[in-house]
């Protein structure tokens, strides 16, 4: 784990972000501008229909107020006069869940200053607590995954262990996708009235804790949600998140191990190269200690190694020594 590795990964990461920027810009921007045009037409039409009754300013005030209220989470059409709040105990419970799991949908967010301060303190304690719970569950899932992995290796052999691991993880991912995404999506499709693609999207965005909030379960007050459904959803979120964390840890382990393997191979190759160079140099009768070390450092990408040896005075076997042996 040296600076060069981190440097390379950072570079890839930045490229990935730029790629995302271009990708999303070209996909979403035209649609957004088109929708803005539609919104403009709607607004103009509204003005045309009502302008003899209301002034433009009055319409603007009403519209702006309604936008503000909707942004704060008040759902106008679905609310009845008697319970105009989505901070009832059930919803507050769900909200607490979105805080400690760091999903943070945002359709509901504390608007009072005290609420926000409490939210901060609540999160400081709740997030680690949730983390312990999830790692506990994740560990249990991991044990199961290990057993499956052993079974998998019994049946399948391959010359490339990394590829084998990747295949296993992919299979795990597919099984997980069925249990944690496809089946819940079908349920959501029926209960929430979403399309299957919307449900799929919601499941994914929720389990990764991205949690945009454009789709949220349990928001329709006209649909009677059963208690069982609500609890099933909570369980799904917790277990699903643990599962996804497991997958991500498996994947990143695989990538780090693979990178480590590559580095090891490189070291071996370098050793061979060093011995070779040493032999050639002895024959030539010259030795450029610093030069060789410089080349070495270049291969390793590890300037520290050069300095370390100089400072400690422990000189590693020089090419000359290696040559003399032969």
């Amino acid at each position: 784990m040296n600076g060069k590795t981190v440097g390379i990964i950072s570079f890839i990461f930045i490229i990935y972000l730029l790629l995302g920027a271009v990708l999303f810009h070209f996909i979403e921007s035209p649609n957004e501008l088109a929708k803005m045009e539609e919104a403009k037409e709607m607004r103009v039409e509204l003005m045309a229909n009502l302008t003899d009754m209301l002034t433009d300013d009055q319409i603007e005030t009403i519209v702006t107020n309604l936008l503000k209220i909707t942004a704060a989470g008040v759902n106008f059409l679905n609310m009845n006069e008697t319970s105009p709040t989505n901070w009832d105990i059930n919803s507050a419970f769900f909200f607490s869940g979105t805080v400690v799991t760091t999903i943070g949908f945002g359709n509901n967010a504390p608007s009072t200053q005290m609420g926000r301060n409490f939210c901060i303190i609540y999160a400081l304690i709740g997030i680690p607590l949730c983390g312990f719970l999830l790692t506990g569950i994740g560990e249990k899932l991991g044990i199961l995954a290990k057993k499956l992995e052993a079974m998998f290796y019994d049946r399948v052999t391959c010359g490339y262990p990394t590829l084998l691991r990747l295949t296993y993880i992919s299979i795990l991912l597919v099984i997980g996708a069925i249990f944690f995404i496809t089946i819940p999506s079908i349920i959501f499709m029926h209960v929430e009235g979403w399309k299957i693609s919307e449900s799929w999207y919601f499941c994914f965005i929720t389990l990764t804790t991205i949690g945009f909030g454009d789709y949220v379960i349990g928001q329709r007050s006209d649909k009677g949600y059963t208690e069982f459904y609500k609890w099933a959803c909570y369980v799904w979120i917790i277990v699903g998140m643990s599962f996804l964390a497991l997958i991500i840890s498996l994947l990143s382990d695989l990538m780090t191990d693979y990178a480590g393997k590559l580095r090891e191979e490189q070291k071996q190759r370098l050793k061979q190269l060093k011995n070779l160079t040493g032999k050639q140099l002895t024959r030539l009768g010259s030795s450029d200690k610093k030069g060789i070390k410089g080349v070495e450092a270049g291969y390793h990408g590890d300037e520290d190694r050069v300095e370390e040896e100089d400072r400690d005075g422990n000189v590693e076997e020089t090419p000359l020594d290696a040559g003399e042996k032969f």
Binding site: G20, T64, L67, G106
Partner: protein, 327 residues
Amino acid sequence: MSLFRKAARLSELRKSSPNYSAMKVCILTVTFFLYLLLGSVMFHHLESKHQEQDFRFVIDRLGSFYEKHRHCIDPAEISQIVEVVLLACKDGFHHLDNTTDILNDNITDRWDLPSSFFFSATVVTTIGYGRLSPQTRQGRNACILYALLGIPLTAILLKEVGHMFKDKGILILTKIRQSLMKIHKSKTFITIATAVVGFLVLYCILICLPALVFSYTEGWSYQDAHYFCFITLTTIGFGDHVVGGNNDRVIYQNQWSKWAFKILITLYLLCGLSILAIVFNALSSGSENKFAELYKKRKQSGNEDVSVIEIKEDPKPGMVPGTDINL
């Protein structure tokens, strides 16, 4: 705990013996559930009235408006306005501050390149504000694929950065311990005090200071900026407050300064999460003996560069450094 930290912890756990008996998981579940209950009561108590007031306020305003103009408007027209607004909100427009900009063709593209860049960052870090979210089917599919690759990539980056600076993190913790030992020698005091001091220092660097910057650049109150920083770095990301949300600010008018600020805020996200990863790494793998070893080696070689010395990794996840406390 962010997805990355969970994943990192799971990696370490897999390499060591199982730490969590079924009993522990059960107890954790119950505690967790009780904690959620506590939260629900508190939030209900704090927020419910206020939202009801908001709602009542608008209803009253609409009501009195209707009363005033009853002779020339019928409620159907008010409903019409409400419906139009809600329709626009379904398309994600409820974050607009006003609609006159649209009328005057003063349309800022919310998906321009700098904003999309920032959006990508919020996806791979799992913050997901939601102020901007893909509305097209292709956009959503792209988002899913992008996240599937990007989140592990970010996880790896944070893990590597955490490893790289872990020694420095342990060093700082040790320095804090050393200075605290001068005050009082009791082991419990040292542990608690180190944790408190370490936490406060971290909190100041990660949240209090950046909040000052953001309150200036965004024109927010300090409390709002502080709340934003916290909600962002924990990757909760409600989206009620987002940097760059107000396009009227002068700094966002110029395309270059817009890029600069989006990059700046992305750096803030990454640095903040990295520092959290480093702290997490330092806490998970440090232990009392390692500190002593480290210091002995340093003294012997007179070598100030700690990172040169390889600390043999023997992660004991869940152990609080310097104690026998097993979490």
